[in-house]
């Protein structure tokens, strides 16, 4: 637990920053100037008396401080510099090299000094020091993480200990739950530091005992929960630390472990706060300050909420990411499966039937239609759907498209429906579709050409007139003479004429030998089915 921290280069940083923060002066690391006033200012209050005896060792240690004693017990060094300043009177007094950084460091540990460390604080994750430690390496690790001198951390623990043993508890918990740094960093601890730290520890314990026995523990009842909550918050907020996040995202395998640990820590934080609440209530119930207690309860619950925020945020984010990844994977699998079941199968069939051009065309056309529907159809993939068209046709256009597909499949012709407008299917329009289908079948069977044009137009009605749905089925085949149709061919007579007539529609056929055929079907729309 001491100074020259090669990882962060902390001593120089402390030196440079300290005068700035503490004295508000130029951060000029000039030997004399900052050292003296800072030292003087620090002198009075804090720690003057009790350690007077050790002052000499403190002074002695200033010599080593240049090489970096920056991190020994705070109180001691302050005392040391205090002791050094008055006797040495002249700023230039003590050794030229030695005194300077120590003075600066000391000023850094001045009243408000070390707190704001603008340098690479977030870069150092919270770990316990492996080397250069006196007890568990906790104080040093916290100091590295927060970016202050380790002496201040130790002092903080002592003060917390004084306040209802919170310091001991916090130290213990951090010891248990904070992992050690991965690579040991070389640090040295001088004997004097050891002594200082030991003295500090004794001081804290002693003061706490005194406070406990003297019964003036009210302060402790307030500060205790506060300390607990602070430690809890520190533990949980640590989880949101950037380095941790990256590690988390990078290593999916350790995610489970990390998740459990995070959960534990969060539970710990929450339970700390709750403990704080309980302690506070027990302590205050005697006094009957119920209202105050409620206030405390609310405050503590808020603390719990704050504690769990990073955890929730991360949980939600991880969940979303995982869900997205799974969706992408599922999509990929589904597309592969669909292509396999449809396109690959059809291609295999086509290769087998390569000699039969009619069959090949039928297969290719059917597959094309299926793929188009899957991609561009209602609910198709290119529209952001899942490719599954509605099982039952509810619109005229869908029904016509389906009928056209069936005719294509059955008769190996190309039927290209062009649809303008649309309407909900009803009984009349169903009849229209069936009639149109029959007309397509006729064209496919008898025209002798391989292409059938189908045009469907729905005219919405004007104010007082009902709209109409019209279907044109046209081929460029051989045509025929309607009057000369054989008696056994019922298609045209029954399926088309009769059906249309029953539903109030009309049929017109235009044909002639060698001119192809066009069947025009017209069906009035009812009131309710305009699109």
């Amino acid at each position: 637990m001491n100074s020259p921290n090669p990882r962060t280069g902390s001593p120089p940083a402390t030196v440079a920053r300290a005068p700035d923060a503490a004295t508000g002066r130029q951060p000029e690391p000039s030997p004399e100037q900052p050292s003296e006033p800072a030292g003087l200012r620090t002198a009075p209050a804090d720690t003057a008396t009790p350690t007077g005896g050790t002052a000499s060792t403190g002074t002695a240690s200033t010599g080593t401080a240049s090489t970096g004693t920056a991190s020994t017990g705070t109180a001691f060094t302050d005392t040391a510099s205090t002791a050094a300043a008055p006797p040495g009177t002249g700023p230039d007094g003590p050794g030229p090299i030695g005194a300077a950084p120590t003075g600066a460091a000391a000023s850094g540990t001045g009243p408000s000094g070390a707190a704001p460390g603008p340098t690479a604080r977030s870069a150092v994750p919270l770990t316990r020091r492996r080397t250069g430690r006196l007890l568990g390496g906790v104080a040093g690790g916290v100091a590295d993480h927060v970016g202050v001198d380790v002496r201040w951390v130790r002092a903080a623990f002592v003060v917390l200990t004084f306040l209802g043993w919170a310091g001991v508890l916090a130290y213990g918990l951090l010891w248990v739950f904070v992992r050690q740094e991965d690579d040991p960093v070389e640090r040295t601890v001088t004997r004097s530091e050891r002594l200082q730290a030991a003295g500090l520890l004794t001081l804290g314990l002693g003061l706490s005992l005194v406070a406990a026995t003297s019964g003036s523990s009210v302060l402790g009842w307030i500060a205790g929960p506060l300390g607990l909550a602070t430690v809890g918050a520190a533990v949980v907020w640590r989880e949101a630390d950037e380095a941790q996040r990256r590690r988390w995202a990078r290593d999916a395998r350790t995610r489970v472990v990390g998740g459990r640990a995070a959960l534990l820590r969060t539970l710990l934080g929450a339970s700390l706060v709750l403990t704080g609440l309980a302690v506070f209530l027990v302590g205050n119930l005697d006094l009957g300050q119920v209202r105050f207690g409620i206030l405390a309860a609310v405050a503590t619950l808020l603390g719990v909420a704050v504690l769990t925020v990073p955890w929730w945020v991360r949980l939600v984010r991880d969940l979303g990411e995982e869900r997205r990844a799974r969706a992408v994977e599922a999509e990929r699998v589904e597309i592969a499966a669909h292509l396999h079941d449809s396109v690959l199968q059809t291609l295999a069939l086509i290769q087998r039937q390569a000699g039969d051009s009619r069959e090949v065309q039928r297969l290719a056309r059917g597959q094309e239609r299926e793929l188009r529907a899957w991609l561009y159809g209602p609910g198709g993939r290119a529209r952001g759907g899942d490719g599954s068209a509605a099982a039952i046709d509810t619109t005229l256009s869908a029904a016509i498209a389906r009928a056209a597909g069936e005719v294509e499949d059955t008769y190996a012709v190309t039927v290209g429906p062009v649809l303008v407008g649309d309407a909900e299917l009803n009984g009349d329009l169903r009849a229209l579709v069936l009639a149109a289908r029959e007309a397509m079948v006729n064209a496919a069977k008898h025209s002798g050409c391989s292409e059938v044009d189908v045009y469907v137009e729905v005219e919405p009605g004007e104010d007082d007139q009902p709209g109409t749905a019209e279907v044109f089925v046209r081929d460029r085949g051989r045509g025929f003479d309607p009057d000369a149709v054989d008696g056994d061919r019922h298609g045209l007579a029954d399926s088309v004429h009769e059906r249309m007539r029953r539903h109030g529609g009309t049929v017109r056929i235009r044909t002639g030998a060698g001119e192809g055929t066009e069947v025009r079907l017209s069906m009035p729309l009812g009131e309710r089915e305009t699109a």
Binding site: Y376, R383, V418, V420, D453, Y455, E457, R474, E518
Partner: protein, 224 residues
């Protein structure tokens, strides 16, 4: 329908080499009619196409709609920005309305699907070269649908370009029913030249109309 007797110089743009060679073979086989269609070059990417069109100055560019790097509409924009005199005919496997409409609005003189026969394709090439528009039945259906006055639709802003005349509508309907120009002329008792005029006028309106349904319709439209 051609102007001079020289061959129609065609440039093929499609990212599938197999398809290009198929179209080239079909066009060059010829259909015994004049003028002869001659493929002067092909391109498989947007950049290549823009450079080739600028360099070879073909009469007609057969354009695939879907290509990596922007597709047919992008080629049209860039080639036209470079001041090309070539006319463009979109030739695509896609029947999606937004594709059809977007490439037409980018300046193509027509749109035919890749299932078109070699004979019809040669015919379409000659026709766009002569300055006409080529509407497949499906494109005619799209345009009719886009310009239809459904109840509740927003009123057209400028009747000159936002509405089809009755005659244009009739012509389009017959086109959608699969009629050839000559058949349309016979059906409506007008000359083929008049049919061509109507179709070109419809093309112009499709390209310039501000009617907001046109784009909305194209994206909303769900056709198989």
């Amino acid at each position: 329908m051609s102007d001079d007797g020289g061959p129609v110089r065609v440039y093929l743009v499609d990212d599938h080499a197999l398809f290009r060679s198929g179209v080239r073979a079909e066009l060059e086989r010829g259909d015994g009619r004049a003028p002869v269609v001659e493929v002067v070059g092909e391109a498989g990417s947007v950049d290549e196409a823009v450079a080739g069109i600028g360099h070879l100055t073909p009469d007609v560019v057969l354009l695939d709609v879907h290509m990596p790097g922007g597709g047919g509409a992008e080629i049209l924009r860039r080639a036209r920005a470079a001041g090309t005199e070539s006319v463009f005919l979109a030739l695509s496997v896609s029947d999606a309305a937004e594709d059809v409409i977007s490439v037409i609005r980018a300046g193509a003189r027509g749109y035919v699907t890749k299932t078109i026969s070699g004979h019809d394709l040669s015919d379409a090439v000659r026709r766009v070269r002569a300055g006409d528009a080529v509407f497949s039945p499906r494109l005619a259906g799209f345009v009719l649908d886009a310009f239809s006055d459904r109840p509740g639709a927003a009123p057209p802003v400028d009747p000159e370009v936002d509405q089809l005349t009755r005659r244009e509508r009739d012509v389009l309907r017959l086109l959608a029913r699969g009629y050839a120009y000559k058949e349309i002329a016979g059906e409506l008792f007008i000359s083929v030249k008049t049919v061509e005029t109507h179709v070109s006028s419809v093309l112009r309106k499709t390209q310039t109309s501000n009617r907001h349904e046109l784009s909305r319709w194209a994206t909303d439209r769900r056709l198989v």
